[in-house]
Amino acid sequence: MKGMFPAAGSSLKARLTKDFKRHKWLYLMALPVIAYYAVFQYSPLFGAVIAFQHYTPMKGVWGSDWAGLEHFRTFIGSYYFWRLVRNTILLSLYALLFEFTAPILLALLLHEVRSRTMRTVAQTIAYMPYFVSLIVVCGIVKELTRSGGPLNLVVLNLFGGEGQDLLQQPEMFRGIYVMSEIWQRAGWEAIIYLAALTTIHPHQYEAARIDGASRWRQIRSITLPGLLPTITIMLILRLGYMMDVGYEKILLLYNPVIYETADVISTFVYRKGLLDNDWSFSSAIGLFNSAINLVLLVTANYISRRINGNSLW
């Protein structure tokens, strides 16, 4: 390994040159990835500048008039601001509580299944919905919840009511959204936890059994602690796009009757930007949303590093 880390005394430039020469093929291999990030992830960031302009495509980013913070002020002062923020946060929180924990529970359950065949079959069935197109999923949801649809009848029989279309009732939307998310994603997201579970050494379970630990005790004392680092990282990653609730699904499911609970910042951005051609205003709202995301991500990372030492950076 000598020569891998050049002497600390040499200058940065010299070290870089040397490193580059030595690993030029590795650098070459990294090039497409760097290019990808530069072109598709970083250069579009520049476009965010239109949030501070009265953007007109024909005048371009350089020629459009400046608006300063006007669009941000308009948004924060607008009639729907609090409702949008509230809906976005609540929907994200529910998704976090239920949809984030569902794959963990599913992984634990699958892990406990003794029969290998049974486990494979169950797992395959569970992650199948992930490959169904979102449009189809939303079509299914609409059919299930419409007046006279199977899910609608279940609700009608359990709780009574008039059997009205569930997607016409504001209080139902969050539940429908979260449930469809779980159905769609839990199986797929469980894969990563299942992979993490395989790294727990069987000896630990053996030792526990010899000590007389019950199945429940084994889960609590071996499986869960073994999963914890993965859960933490997944949680932090998840918080990073917390405010980006699955707006495509919401767009396909919502209607004005349930805007009260279903309209979120990203659907508002869609309506403003793509339907009303108010690009600058909608960029400003999008940027505002991203800023909250960034704050959440940094905070979560900080807390996690303080508490259990796991963090993204």
Partner: protein, 541 residues
């Protein structure tokens, strides 16, 4: 994103496009609606006649909504092949699905890369309309180009000053090659209708007032077990079925802006709107309106009617023709009878209904400001307004889709009785431009001959005073465009949401009073001011 739903048949497409036309803009004075004839040839003022086919090396790009789903691409549609041949200009079409046209249009504008010709509703399709589009540099002002290179359109507009007034902005700028209509069924095609056989069986006459409608719908529910006696289309807009004034018009108002004695009014601010909501809420509670009505798209509406769950709806005549055929397969007595737009007291003339302006701005072709071939684009588009072009766009190719009998065009067997089992509307979609709006003059005679008319299908029963009350295609000034758009976006969301909640019974009618207050806070006053100014400018044109 709205779901991608291929349009099932062309007849549906006709309904859809005509309905879209309806929202675009109705009329002010009824004399505008005199039947118009195709371009007069005796009024030759322009010297630069174009001789077709033009010989050119250049290709033009042309953005439009997919006209037919019968062929995988527009390039395989005979009409569009023949058009290029006749004009002699090769065209590369950019097709977008009608359900995604709005997003596609917005993305195209934002990209700054515009095709040479863009066929769209430049009036209501973007905030600020044509004035803003001209000012922001998307499209060309066409006045000089039309003077020099579009003798046919120029002649047509000179012969029809009332249309000329509509197709210009307040500043007198021409901005598109317009989709024009000749009146008759080209401007009036939609209204309420009921199952005739049900009415006869129950011994009821065609309802004219809101109270009579209530009686009829209740009877449909109780005697005919209709689960949704009245079904109303509610896509793409939540209150789509009411937008043209059916039922709501009985209360002397409409959902949007309208004119009363030269004053612009906003329907939801009027006491009539409260009455309308109260009545609909009551009907909904009694099960007279489709219980999933906020989710009723064309497919659901078809299912309700063909399945016998509904005995009344609001649709285009072509829609009723289609359903009559579908119902006839199981029940030969099934049929529809057109009903007048409902009113409150018997004998009243309905104030609002579907009747469009002869120019409603939909599917009109603008030329992008970045084009390298403005003259060529103008020449390509001008062909449609010639006598030959009029016949070609409406009737197709002589000898193929029509023949001249005593100087009058008559459709051939290829259209009337298609060998490939296409319906006549589908066949028209392939060989003519008739079923779709576009930059040409739609023939009143042809459209009139396509619909089944008669005692029951009497289009005159749908006559209203609509054109005296509905806003003409006014233009909001470019300066006020984004302010107006923002105010109205918030207001429309609030009105739709509150209205639906009241009708569905989620909230009581008291919510209306809050709505009226909130509208003030959201600056409806300012929006009214902007509309009034636009209307005043229109009157001065």
């Amino acid at each position: 994103m709205p779901s991608i739903r291929p349009v099932a048949t062309l007849s549906v497409l006709l309904v859809a496009t005509l309905a879209a036309a309806g929202c675009a803009g109705p009329d002010v004075s009824s004399d505008i609606n005199h039947p118009a004839s195709p371009a007069n040839t005796d009024n030759k003022t322009t010297k630069t006649e174009t001789s077709y086919p033009i010989v050119t090396e250049s290709t033009l790009t042309y953005w439009l909504q997919t006209p037919t789903t019968l062929k995988p691409s527009i390039n395989e549609v005979p009409f569009f092949q023949e058009w290029q041949q006749r004009v002699g200009v090769p065209v590369s079409f950019v097709e977008v699905s009608p359900t995604q046209a709005k997003e596609s249009f917005s993305v195209m504008l934002a990209s700054g890369q515009l095709p040479d010709i863009i066929e769209y509703n430049w009036q209501s399709g973007l905030p600020g309309g044509p004035e803003k589009a001209l000012q922001d540099g998307y499209i060309l002002r066409l006045n000089e180009l039309i003077d020099e290179h579009a003798p046919n359109l120029k002649r047509y507009l000179a012969a029809h000053p009332e249309i000329d007034k509509l197709v210009k902005t307040d500043n007198g700028d021409y901005y598109v090659f317009p989709f024009l209509k000749e009146g008759g069924m080209t401007t009036q095609w939609e209204g309420p209708a009921l199952r005739k056989d049900w009415l006869a069986e129950l011994n009821l006459s065609v309802p004219t007032t809101i109270d009579e409608w209530h009686t009829v719908l209740t009877a449909f529910k109780e005697e005919k077990n209709a689960s949704a006696p009245l079904t109303i289309l509610n896509a793409p807009n939540a209150l789509q079925g009411f937008l043209n004034g059916a039922f709501i018009g009985a209360y002397g108002i409409n959902r949007g802006f309208y004119i009363d004695e030269q004053q612009v009014q906003f329907g939801p601010l009027q006491p009539g709107y409260r009455q309308f909501l109260e009545t609909m809420s009551q009907w909904y509670k009694e099960g007279l309106i489709d219980s999933s009505f906020t989710q009723t798209d064309r497919k659901a509406q078809d299912a309700n009617i063909v399945g016998g769950n509904s005995g009344a709806t609001i649709a285009s005549g072509a829609g009723f023709d289609k359903w009559t055929h579908a119902l006839a397969e199981h029940d030969s007595t099934a049929g529809f009878v057109f009903a007048p737009y409902p009113v409150l007291t018997p004998g009243e003339t309905p104030k609002f209904g579907q009747e469009a302006w002869m120019y409603g701005a939909e599917a009109s072709a603008a030329i992008s400001a970045s084009t390298k071939h403005p003259e060529l684009a103008v020449q390509l588009l001008d062909y449609a307004y010639s006598e030959e072009g009029y016949l070609f766009f409406n009737y197709g190719t002589e000898g193929l889709s029509y023949t001249l009998e005593n100087g009058e065009p008559a459709l051939t067997e290829l259209i009337r009785n298609n060998p490939d089992n296409l319906s006549y509307l589908e066949a028209l979609g392939l060989y003519t431009h008739t079923v779709n709006p576009g930059p040409y003059v739609a023939s009143k005679a042809l459209i009139g001959s396509l619909a089944a008319t008669g005692e029951d299908h009497n289009y005159d029963r749908w006559k209203t005073d609509n054109l005296k009350h509905v806003l003409p295609p006014v233009s909001i000034s470019a300066e006020e465009a984004s302010e107006y758009a923002r105010i109205m976006a918030d207001i429309n969301t609030l009105v739709d949401e509150t209205s639906l909640k009241i009708i569905l019974g989620t909230e009581t009618i008291q919510a209306y009073d809050e709505l009226a207050e909130m509208l003030d806070v959201l600056q409806i006053g300012r929006a009214l001011e902007i509309q009034q100014a636009a209307y005043d400018r229109f009157l001065e044109r």
